[in-house]
């Protein structure tokens, strides 16, 4: 990998990490309300997969999707404005943290129903297949989704109808308060894909390089074969499921143990990133976030007279 590629990967992860930390701060300051699910710890997955997708490809994500949206190219300002409920947010202030959308970036949402995005994703792929666009649809979901009926319904149809879908399971070991081993008889999620004759693999979700290589190959394979592929990324979230989750279900020692695998610090050590190189990236990230928050603060609220807009076509 070139120095540029290495710094690009680091920049991706640091931008997401600092963005999510600012979100936590703004939530505590009551600027962001409702639910907030942070991506801190899992940055390597988005940083590894998203760059492998082309502009014509589509993305469907879950409610922990700030990192994916940011790295797909949706401006931090538009995302933060959405968190603040402003009209210039990327969803017009109508969706909030869990429902980031951008037609321009073919970012078809944050979906807050666990597994809810899976059927939509294969539909998008079906349209691409029938129109022969060779585009790939990449759908992100947590291991919790594997317990939903529509997870299996979706994998079966994707395989049966041979649809160009890349399933990316971000296995962070906990579905809200339930450890994986307490909810799945077969905790190795990627093995479930085999039951539907979908090729699959598992990769260290804390290693951005491993994720990137696996994702790049997977995207090309899906594009060439038109058949679905299943990529399970073993990862971990350092913060609670959401802002008022007291984390009674896991002990501090386990969290500390995973911190040793922090995707950013391990990457910096492994790639011998110098303090100066890191400082530049940190400064750029801080500036981006400060500007985003200023924009979001100043952005207007949507007039209440527009309440009934966006229900049906104008």
């Amino acid at each position: 990998m070139t120095r540029e590629q290495i710094l690009a990967m680091l920049r991706s992860m640091v931008r997401v990490r600092r963005f999510e930390e600012r979100c936590a701060e703004d939530y505590v300051a009551a600027k962001i309300r409702g639910f907030l699910h942070l991506y801190i710890g899992q940055e390597a997955v988005a940083a590894g997969v998203i760059p492998a997708l082309g502009p014509a490809d589509s993305i469907v994500a879950s409610y922990r999707e700030h990192g994916h949206a940011l790295l797909r190219g949706i401006p931090a300002a538009a995302i933060m404005a959405e968190m603040y409920g402003k009209a210039s947010g990327c969803s017009g202030g109508r969706g909030g943290s869990m429902h980031l959308f951008s037609r321009e970036h073919r970012f078809f949402g944050g979906h807050a129903i666990v597994g809810g995005g899976l059927p939509v994703a294969i539909g998008i792929a079906l349209a691409d297949k029938l129109r022969g666009t060779r585009a790939v649809t990449c759908v992100f979901f947590g291991e919790g989704a594997a317990a939903e009926g529509e997870f299996h319904e979706t994998l079966n149809i994707a395989s049966l109808w041979r649809l160009p879908v890349l399933f990316v399971c971000e296995n962070n070991a906990y579905a809200m308060g339930t450890a994986l081993v307490r909810s799945e008889a077969e905790p190795a999620i990627h093995k479930k894909a085999a039951a539907h004759r979908i090729g699959s693999e598992s990769v260290d979700g804390m290693d951005v390089v491993a994720v990137s290589e696996a994702a790049t190959q997977a995207v090309e394979r899906v594009r060439e074969t038109g058949a679905p592929w299943f990529l399970e990324c073993m990862t971990y979230r350092f913060r609670a499921h959401s802002m008022f989750d007291p984390e009674l279900y896991r002990d501090k020692a386990e969290v500390e143990a995973w911190r040793a695998h922090d995707p950013i610090t391990t990457f910096i050590k492994r790639m011998t990133v110098t303090a100066d190189e890191l400082a530049v990236i940190e400064r750029e990230a801080a500036a981006e976030i400060t500007q985003a928050c200023a924009f979001a603060d100043a952005a207007p609220l949507e007039p209440v007279e527009d309440l009934l807009r966006h229900v049906r076509a104008p």
Binding site: E25, Y27, V28, A29, A30, R33, G34, F35, M243, F244, P246, L248
Partner: protein, 381 residues
């Protein structure tokens, strides 16, 4: 100078209680350090610092419940001088929400006249009061039809048969012509004895209880039917069902156009005076639109009379599901053979239309003869 405030740790959190400080004044704090513990309804949560600095002042006592956003502590940068600041008293408890004093229950409304909205609206439009109006709706409620315009009204209402009635008549009559094989019989009856009896009977009655020929004819039909069950009943689901009772429907033409045929129930068991009173009541109520539905639907046979200014003979149409209808033309003076002489007699042409599926001309003829015979001895009716 930076502040540490009570964090908002949940969509439904308004306030939090400071349980514990993990730092003291003068301690060095780094971004992300846990500086204390806070209690929410849900659980005990760590209080995180989002800034580096030296604890300058702890502003809230342990155990104090303060709203989200309250400044709990102040941090100063390394070089800054400490500020002597009094410890802020715990925030005053939120003012008690005033409990509304229950108002005395409103006095019960004046005894309302129970009436439908449409009736009240019509009354407003016509400028009439509802008090004293007898309601024919459920539980005596005043409904639309009970609200009649004040008499007299300047402009006469346009002669317009309510379309629904016209449609109903059209439907019933066309069904009758389609399904019922009518046969018709006519018979001229002398009314000499009948009218003489009436004049004599009325002379002993007040004007209010005067009996009209129409009532006598109805009475005669009712009595005659006792011997002709095949003319009195219903033809339903391809079979004739004779009726025990005799409910005589009298066809009443309405001045606003159209026809209505309310029934006099058990006409065969009612003396002539009662029949007359009921007939008069029916006509008045029919014209005012105040008929009960049972009166409209239970007739077993119909009698139609064109009255004293109509024509000589009527050939009526049976009203399904009935099986017969009796008609009377106008009572007119006609030449009548008495012994060897021809003398003028008041006479009426009685007609019968009957359902050939149920009975034949022979029986129909006997019925009219019986009617004739009864009218020759009016006193017995």
């Amino acid at each position: 100078m930076r502040e540490i405030r009570m964090p908002s740790l949940g969509a439904d959190m308004d306030a939090g209680t400071l349980l514990e400080w993990k730092v003291a004044v003068g301690d060095k704090v780094a971004r992300g350090d846990i500086v204390g513990l806070v209690e929410t309804e849900k659980a005990t949560m760590e209080l995180e610092s989002f800034a580096d600095g030296i604890v300058d002042a702890l502003l809230v006592e342990l155990g104090a419940k303060v709203p989200v956003g309250t400044v709990l502590a102040r941090l100063r940068d390394a070089g800054e001088a400490a500020i002597e600041a009094p410890v802020i008293a715990p925030a005053p408890p939120p003012p008690p929400i005033p409990v509304p004093v229950p108002r005395a229950p409103a006095p019960p409304p004046p005894a309302l006249v129970r009436s439908s909205p449409a009736a009240r609206k019509r009354a407003r439009e016509l400028g009439v009061s509802l008090t004293g109006v007898a309601g024919t709706g459920p539980h005596g409620a005043i409904v639309l039809r009970d609200v009649v315009p004040p008499a007299p009204r300047a402009a006469p209402p346009p002669v317009r048969t309510p379309t629904s009635m016209r449609q109903a008549i059209a439907l019933a009559m066309s069904r009758s012509k389609r399904e019922i094989p009518h046969f018709y019989l006519a018979h001229t009856i002398s009314m000499k004895h009948a009218l003489a009896w009436l004049t004599e009977a009325n002379s002993t009655r007040t004007i209010q209880h005067r009996i009209l020929p129409g009532a006598l004819l109805l009475r005669a039909v009712a009595v005659a039917l006792r011997d002709f069950p095949e003319l009195n009943g219903f033809y339903i689901d391809d079979e004739f069902r004779p009726s025990e009772e005799v409910h005589l429907a009298t066809a009443i033409s309405l001045r606003t156009g159209g026809l209505i045929a309310p029934a006099i129930l058990d006409a065969d068991e009612k003396p002539i005076d009662q029949l007359m009173a009921e007939l008069q009541d029916l006509v008045v109520r029919a014209r005012g639109g105040h008929l009960k539905s049972s009166e409209l639907t239970t007739a077993t046979i119909t009698v139609t009379s064109l009255g004293d200014r109509g024509c000589e003979t009527v050939f009526p149409v049976i009203a399904p599901p009935q099986v017969a209808i009796v008609g009377f033309g106008a009572v007119l003076e006609r030449p009548w053979v008495e012994g060897a002489a021809v003398v003028p007699h008041p006479t009426v042409v009685a007609t019968l239309a009957a359902d050939h599926r149920v009975c034949d001309g022979h029986r129909g003829g006997l019925f009219l003869a019986t009617l004739d015979h009864l009218l020759q001895e009016p006193a017995k009716l």
